[in-house]
């Protein structure tokens, strides 16, 4: 009897699941949620007034379906994460107050995601200035949109692409009047002015990520999540512009992982598209230059000795 009931329950769940899976992001116009949420306007039948109505969609709730399909969560449907009650319209007001799942709610303690180190990221994040100041209200989704997240740092072979993707996360608040004020309650400081001391600002912003200077280097984590308070941000040029550049342990380590040549640091830095003054020491040339230089000094010393030895007595 119990077994029959169990089978029945499982069967119904499968049907329900299949039914939900029948929707996909392929055809947004047929999708129950996306037919409104991928457009700027939506039409519905107003039962109260018994007429068709068209309204503007709240722009913050319009989703980019292409980015959705490209994201790592594209296998899920909307109601896998959002409340099932959203399937009816008008949406009930109190479901909007329910908390949403965070990354750890699904990925925490999951062995199959061990290589992404979600628990360690959470640890590091809790040391950061964002958590210290805003606590649990500052969730992962403030930077990482679950709708469109892609593991760019792991997959991209272009440094500028990684930089742009990463910096857009920071800039979504730090370059936005309303987002910044929403979270911090203060006016947004002008990024360009604040970074006035940095020469070649534009080049830097396009080729290095914010986190390169604003986090502590954590080379065992893919991306360092301990964002430091601004007073602790890096200011010494030679931290990156030297042969022991901290970039090797952060931005360029991805290239290390992806390099097909495995030529060591020189090979990987050479095979990517960026050049950082002071980091690209070509070992062969350096050795050659020492040899030539020392050889020259030796020759000059010998020549001088001979000249001294050969001096005529009436010379000075």
């Amino acid at each position: 009897m119990m077994r029959n009931r169990l089978i029945l329950i499982v069967f119904v769940c499968c049907l329900g699941w299949l039914g939900a899976r029948a929707q996909s992001y392929e055809n947004a116009q047929e999708h129950q949620c996306l037919k409104c949420h991928s457009n700027q306007t939506y039409t519905f039948h107003n039962d109260l007034m018994e007429r068709q109505e068209s309204r503007l969609m709240n722009p913050y709730f319009v989703l980019d379906t292409i980015a959705l399909k490209a994201g790592v969560h594209h296998v899920f449907d909307c109601i896998d994460c959002h409340s099932y009650e959203y399937t009816t319209y008008p949406h009930s007001a109190n479901i909007k107050l329910e908390p949403l799942a965070t990354c750890l709610d699904c990925h925490g303690g999951d062995e199959s995601f061990a290589k992404y180190q979600f628990e360690r990221i959470d640890e590091e994040y809790q040391k950061s200035v964002h958590y210290q100041t805003y606590g649990d209200a500052f969730t992962c989704s403030k930077c990482h949109s679950q709708h469109t997240y892609t593991a760019t740092a792991r997959t991209s072979s272009n440094v500028q692409e990684i930089v742009e993707y990463s910096n857009n996360m920071c800039l979504s608040c730090h370059n936005s009047m309303q987002e910044y004020k929403l979270v911090s309650g203060k006016d947004n400081p002008e990024l360009v002015e604040v970074h006035n001391w940095l020469p070649n600002q534009k080049l830097h912003f396009e080729n290095v990520r914010c986190i390169e200077c604003h986090t502590q280097v954590e080379d065992s984590l893919m991306v360092s999540h301990n964002i430091l308070p601004k007073e602790q941000a890096l200011r010494k040029c030679v931290e990156c512009h030297s042969s022991n550049s901290r970039l090797i342990a952060s931005l360029y380590k991805y290239e290390n992982l992806q390099s097909r040549k495995g030529n060591g640091i020189l090979g990987t830095m050479v095979s990517n598209d960026s050049y950082v003054i002071g980091t690209h020491q070509v070992p062969l040339l350096k050795t050659l230059s020492y040899i030539i230089f020392i050889g020259l000094i030796v020759v000059i010393i010998i020549h001088t000795i001979f000249r001294i030895l050969n001096r005529k007595p009436d010379d000075k």
Partner: protein, 200 residues
């Protein structure tokens, strides 16, 4: 006179370029010699000054008689500098007299001439062109085979810079070969060289 001024500007400019260039490229953590951002600024500014100076040199060589000292005599054009090299390495210690002594018609002996031509017409323009490309990296070809174009340009720039610094050391040393080691340095200022007859 213009040549004296030109030489002075060049000398100062190139010394600054070499020191700042070394500082940036050395990759030493502590900010070798001066802080990185100051080194970059100093290097860029003296680079521009030396470039302008170089154009002065080019024009000067065309309109004045100084250009004639840079023309290679085609006859025996390998034997001449070798003869001079033999003098420097062996002959001057054995009482030989200089095969190509200084005169108003001959400012450089053949060995000097070749080196100066190589440096002034090959190395320095090379450094100027690569240097300007690094100042405006958008102009550089993006990839050369599988290497970053900027990286290749930067390596060439450093190599040429190194070659010029080696030349500088030789230049300063050969200048001490004269009646007395300091005699030629007076000539740098006055522009004239006292010709010795009958001595080496």
């Amino acid at each position: 006179m213009w040549l004296r001024i030109w030489h002075g500007i060049n000398a100062l400019g190139i010394i600054v370029l070499i020191i700042t260039g070394l500082s940036m490229q050395s990759g030493i953590d502590s900010g070798f010699i001066m802080s990185f951002d100051k080194a970059v600024d100093a290097h860029n500014i003296s680079g521009i000054i030396v470039t302008l100076n170089y154009f002065l040199f080019l024009i000067g060589n065309l309109v004045t008689s100084n250009g004639k000292f840079y023309i290679v005599k085609p006859s025996a054009f390998i034997k001449r500098p070798i003869k001079q090299a033999k003098y420097y390495s062996w002959g001057m210690f054995h009482g030989e007299s200089a095969p190509y002594p200084l005169s108003e018609k001959r400012k450089f002996n053949p060995l000097q001439k070749y080196f100066y031509i190589l440096v002034m017409y090959l190395a320095v323009p090379g450094a100027i062109i690569t240097g300007f490309a690094l100042l405006f990296p958008e102009l550089i070809i993006e990839k050369v085979y599988n290497l970053s174009g900027i990286f290749v340009t930067a390596v060439f720039h450093s190599i040429i810079g190194f070659v010029i610094s080696i030349f500088l050391i030789i230049h300063l040393y050969v200048a001490t070969i004269g009646k007395s080691p300091l005699e030629n340095f007076k000539s740098i200022l006055s522009g004239w060289h006292h010709i010795h007859h009958g001595k080496k």
